[in-house]
Structure formats: C-alpha cells, structure tokens
C-alpha cells in the first residue's frame, strides 16, 4: 500500500487536491472561495493528467530536428488535454467572476446563502 502511494505520488496528491477543491466549490459560503475551489479542482486534474503522461527520464515532446524515436519523449497527448482544460477553466472562471461582480452590485454581499435569503424575503414581500 505504501509502495503504491509513493510510486503514484502525483496522482494521489492530485486526487487529494481534487477533493479539497470539490468540497470548497460545494460547501464554501463565500463566492470567491467557491471560485478558488473550482480552480484548485481543475488544476488538480491537470496535475493528474500531466502525471499520467510522464515517462521517467524522457524528454519534453518538442522535436527540433527530424523524426526521432518516440520512446524518448514524454506522452504529448495529456499535455494537449491539459492545455484544452486550462482554456476551459479560464473561460468558466471568467464567467463566474463576472457573475460575482454583478451579484455583489445587486446584493452587496459575497455570501451565497445570504443572497438566497434576501431573495426569499423579497418573495415574501411580493406575496403580500
């Protein structure tokens, strides 16, 4: 068991980070903390992917002079996936941050529970 953890240390670390990010996204009350949690979660996944692609003692997959033996390089596909993932993560974070700014303008608080509470109160007023 210990052997497994040590040999797969990046993967284990990434899963732990994923868990941290996931629970932050789910449970934190402050919107900024949720967004940070999302970023931690996504970054953890990139760590996992990068670790999956890594080959011991291999070079980065950048070819400068003609075709060479592919066994000498790290698997390039996960790097591509990580790049794609980063792009996705950035755009989603941008949307979330924009929403947070608007929410703050509207409700003057960054606490999601507080916002929902304010809306409920508003509903009750409207019903009367």
């Amino acid at each position: 068991m210990n052997n497994y953890i040590v040999t797969n240390l990046p993967e284990v670390a990434s899963i732990i980070l994923f868990g941290i990010g996931f629970s932050n996204l789910l449970l934190a009350r402050n919107l900024i903390k949720k967004i940070i949690g999302l970023n931690i979660m996504d970054t953890a996944i990139y760590l996992f992917l990068a670790a999956k692609g890594y080959v011991d003692n291999a070079a980065a997959p950048i070819v400068t002079s003609g075709a060479v033996d592919p066994d000498l390089y790290v698997n390039p596909v996960p790097s591509g996936l990580v790049l794609t993932g980063i792009v996705v993560s950035v755009s989603v974070t941008a949307v979330l941050l924009a929403l947070t700014v608007r929410l703050y303008e509207e409700f003057n608080t960054l606490d999601i529970d507080e916002i929902v509470h304010q809306l409920r109160v508003k509903d009750k007023e409207a019903m009367r």
Partner: protein
C-alpha cells in the same frame, strides 16, 4: 450521400460561425441569421435522417488530419440525426414562441448577445449528439454549461443572477467529476475515442485488471452527468433556474439542455463502457432508484407550488425521473423508452413553458396563481396548449404522453423482478399526482376571470375580433409556434410507430 457526410461537422461549426458574426449584428439581423441557420440545419439533418432510413450505414467522420485512434472523430447514425433534428425543431419553435419576451426581458441592444449564446448552445448540443471522442465531449459540455448560464442571465434581475450562480456551481461540480472520470479512463486505456475505449475496457474486464478503477470511472461518469441532468437529489438548482429565466430560455433549458446530457450519458454507457459491462451493473439500479424518487418527489413538490413556472420546473424534475427510470431498467427496451420520453418531454415541456409565457402576458406579467385566474380564456392559444399538455402528461391516448407510458410500462414489464413493481407503482402514483396539479392549474386558467372588465372582454362577439386585433399584429410567431407544438404532440401520439422505429433502429447500430 457524399455531401451528406459533411452534415454533422457542418451542424457543429455553422452555428459557431454564425454566433461570432452575431457579435457585430444588430438585433433584427442576428435574429434572422439565427433563424436561418437553424432552419438550414434542420433541413440538412432531415435529409441525413432520410438517407439513414433508406439504408445508408452509420459513418464516422474524421475531424482534422489524423485518423483513429489518435485523431478526433464524429459519428452519425439514425439516432444521432433524429436527436439533432429534434433539438433543432424544438429550439426553432421555442425561439419563435418566446420572441416577444426577449424584447421585453432583455432589451433591444443586447438581443444579439442572446442569440450568440443560443447559437453556441445549439452548436454544443449538436456536438454532444454527434461526438465520438470523450474529451471533445467534455469541452462541449463546458460550452453547454456556460451558454446555458448565458441564456438565463440574459434577463437581468436578482433572481436570474442567483439562480444561474447556483446552476453554474452545481454544473461545475458535475463537470469536475466527469473530467476526472475521463482522465481515469485515459489512464486505464490510453484512448479517448469511444470505440477504442470500449475494446480496451472489454479486455480489462476479461483480464480482471483494474476492476476497482473501472467501477469508479463508471460511477463518476454517471454521477457527473446526473448532476447536470437534474436527477433527484441533484435537482436543487433546477426550479430557480428554469422559473426565473425568460420564456424562450426556460423552454430551451427544460426541453433541450437537460436532454443533451442524458443523451451523452446513454452514449457513454453504450459506446464507451459497452453493453456487456453495463447490463446488470449496480449503478443502473442506483439510477433507477433515484429516478423513481425523482418521479414521486418532483410531483409532490410541484403540488405545493403557487407559481406556474416553478410548478412546471418541478414537473420537469418528475419527468426526468421517468427517463432515468427507463435507463435504470438496464434493458434495451428501457433505454428505448427513455429516449421516447426524451423526445416527448422536450416537445411537451417547451410548449408548456411558451404557453406559460403567454399566460403571464395576459395577466400583467405576473406568474402566481392568483393573477392567472381565467388567463386561459384571455389567451386562448396558450390555454389550448395547456389543455394539450395536461392531456399528454396524464397519458390519454391520442397524445404523446400515452406513448411514453406505453413504452415505459412495457419495458418495465420485461424485467421480471423488483424493478417491475417499483417502476409500475411509481408510474401510477406520479401519474395521479401529475394529474392533480395540472388539472388544478387548468381549472384555474379556465375559471372565473379576475376582474369585471376582463369578464366583459371575454363575453360577446367582440371577443374574437378583439383577440385577433390584440394578438395577430405582433404575436403571429407565438401562435404559430404553439400550434406547431400541439401538432407535433398529436403527431407523436397518433403516429408513434415512426418515432419508436427510428429510435429502436438507431439503438441497434449505436455501439
């Protein structure tokens, strides 16, 4: 047939291109562009579907320079093109039906931004339908999420902002789980293309290696996509999101967005994991149980709502439960029944949300039941749509809802164990609950009018001309959209064999 091979790729790329162009167009031009794109794609999808029905085989289409297993592919068959057509038709009708509300909810200067979101949403839904590659699926899932959020917050008030924030958060949780699942699968098999993954998974199962990670992966896929499709208990974001958005957005969200994720899940179960591994898998039982609970509790919650759009949203939770009940049965007949419900619910719920928009218009913009008294008489087209929707939900023969009950009960009867009894009991109880809250609204809509002057307006021969004068000038599209929806509902109810045959034929060649 040669040119038709390009239709799937075209369907994904054209809306994106049109969306980018919409950035610089004014409101009217962007609406026209969007409508044109959707109509053109619907025609092309229809031609593609026709060619499959005439016997053309399913094909894969290489996106980019590299072929399988390194490159990216999309795949088209009867089922995919039928789903694509359904998405396009319902989206067209929803946009037509909700056009007036766009004007009032969003404001002319930002309408083109709305159409950008809609076009990208359409592109992502079509991509999820046609894709054969898991990571592409993830990217388009994220595009789907962000643009769906876009069409909610296009109507700017506090409710939509909070609702879309909660939607985004829940959705991103699901995406995160989905992504880690993809990464695990990549780690286990080294492939991202679905057929290749299926081969590798079959080998793993035969060898007995990596069984635990495989099970975890399947669970991650299921839960991740279930979070995004509002399976109970992951549905908490749905009522706020669907009820606060404008009419067209609610119709698109409830009818189409949820379904694209469900279709992706079915595709993953069939093509990535493979029917050999999936049949009898424990995760299906879990989906069945949650589906059944969703059917019951969604209806129970809807009973207590005093606001028509929230009631319709909870009704969606209940109907999505039917779909998961069908998937959870674990047989091909069950998945077929689930797909029938996908189509029927898309058509019916979109119609109901558009009608709700019309009813709200006829009641001074308010959506609570007190204001909606007699609204069915003030806006007859919406009232008729609500009658058709109710009949369909109760499951009267002639209407589409009967066909989904027929296929689902027949599928449930096919599994001869506890699943039969649980599903049947849930169907019976949820039908009666559904009947209760829909008929209650119906009697409200056609009951006494709220005020005297409205009463005066309703009676007399002047009613028809006043109605036509008021509505025909700007609401032609709305009336046409609702009539088209009613027509589709009746067509499915009367000629369901066509639909069921297409779905069954598509499922046969799906993996």
């Amino acid at each position: 047939m040669n040119l038709l091979y390009n239709v799937p790729a075209f369907s994904i790329l054209l809306p994106m291109l049109a969306g980018v162009i919409c950035l610089v167009l004014p409101a009217r031009a962007s609406r026209r562009l969007s409508n044109t794109v959707i109509v053109v794609l619907a025609l092309l999808s229809f031609l593609l579907l026709n060619s499959f029905l005439d016997g053309a085989p399913t094909f894969t289409y290489r996106m980019g320079h590299y072929g399988a297993p390194i490159g990216n592919e999309i795949r088209a068959g009867e089922l995919e093109s039928a789903m694509a057509m359904m998405f396009l038709v319902v989206m067209m009708l929803s946009l037509m039906g909700g056009r007036n509300h766009l004007r009032s909810d969003i404001g002319r200067s930002k309408v083109n931004l709305y159409y950008i979101s809609v076009l990208f949403l359409l592109s992502s839904m079509l991509a999820l339908t046609y894709t054969n590659d898991l990571f592409t699926a993830y990217v388009f899932v994220e595009i789907n999420t962000v643009t769906a959020c876009g069409i909610i917050i296009s109507k700017e008030d506090g409710y939509t902002l909070a609702a879309s924030m909660r939607y985004l958060i829940m959705s991103l949780l699901g995406s995160g789980l989905f992504l880690i699942g993809i990464c695990l699968v990549y780690g286990l098999t080294g492939h991202l293309l679905m057929p290749n993954i299926q081969e590798a998974v079959n080998q793993l199962v035969q060898n007995g290696h990596y069984q635990a990670p495989l099970q975890v992966t399947i669970a991650l896929f299921a839960v991740g996509l279930a979070l995004k499709s509002a399976l109970w208990p992951f549905h908490s974001w749905l009522p706020d999101a669907h009820s606060s958005a404008s009419a067209a957005s609610s119709a698109i969200l409830s009818g189409l967005v949820l379904k694209s994720f469900i279709f992706l899940m079915i595709k993953i179960f069939f093509r990535t994991v493979g029917p050999d591994v999936m049949t009898g898998h424990a995760i299906l039982n879990l989906l069945l149980v949650f589906g059944v609970l969703g059917m019951l509790l969604g209806s129970v919650n809807a009973l207590f709502e005093k606001d028509i759009k929230r009631m319709l949203a909870f009704s969606s939770v209940s109907q999505i439960g039917y779909i998961f009940c069908g998937i959870g049965l674990g047989t091909i007949a069950g998945v077929s029944a689930a797909l029938v419900q996908v189509v029927v619910h898309a058509v019916t719920k979109a119609m109901l949300f558009i009608a709700a928009g019309g009813l709200m218009d006829a009641s001074g913009g308010r959506k609570d039941f007190d204001a909606l008294q007699g609204a069915g008489k003030r806006d007859i087209v919406a009232g008729a749509a609500f009658v058709v929707g109710t009949m369909s939900m109760i499951g009267l023969p002639f209407f589409a809802g009967f066909i989904t009950k027929l296929t689902l009960v027949t599928a449930a009867a096919g599994t001869h164990d506890w699943r039969t009894y649980v599903s049947l009991a849930a169907i019976v109880v949820s039908t009666i609950l559904t009947a209760i809250y829909y008929i209650r609204v119906l009697s409200l809509l056609f009951g006494r009018n709220g005020s005297e002057e409205q009463d005066g307006e309703v009676r007399g021969r002047r009613f028809l001309s006043a109605y036509l004068r008021r509505h025909l000038s700007m609401d032609t599209e709305y009336i046409l959209a609702i009539l088209a929806f009613i027509g589709i509902n009746l067509w499915i109810g009367l000629r369901s064999d066509d639909l069921v045959d297409i779905i069954n034929a598509g499922l046969a060649t799906f993996q």
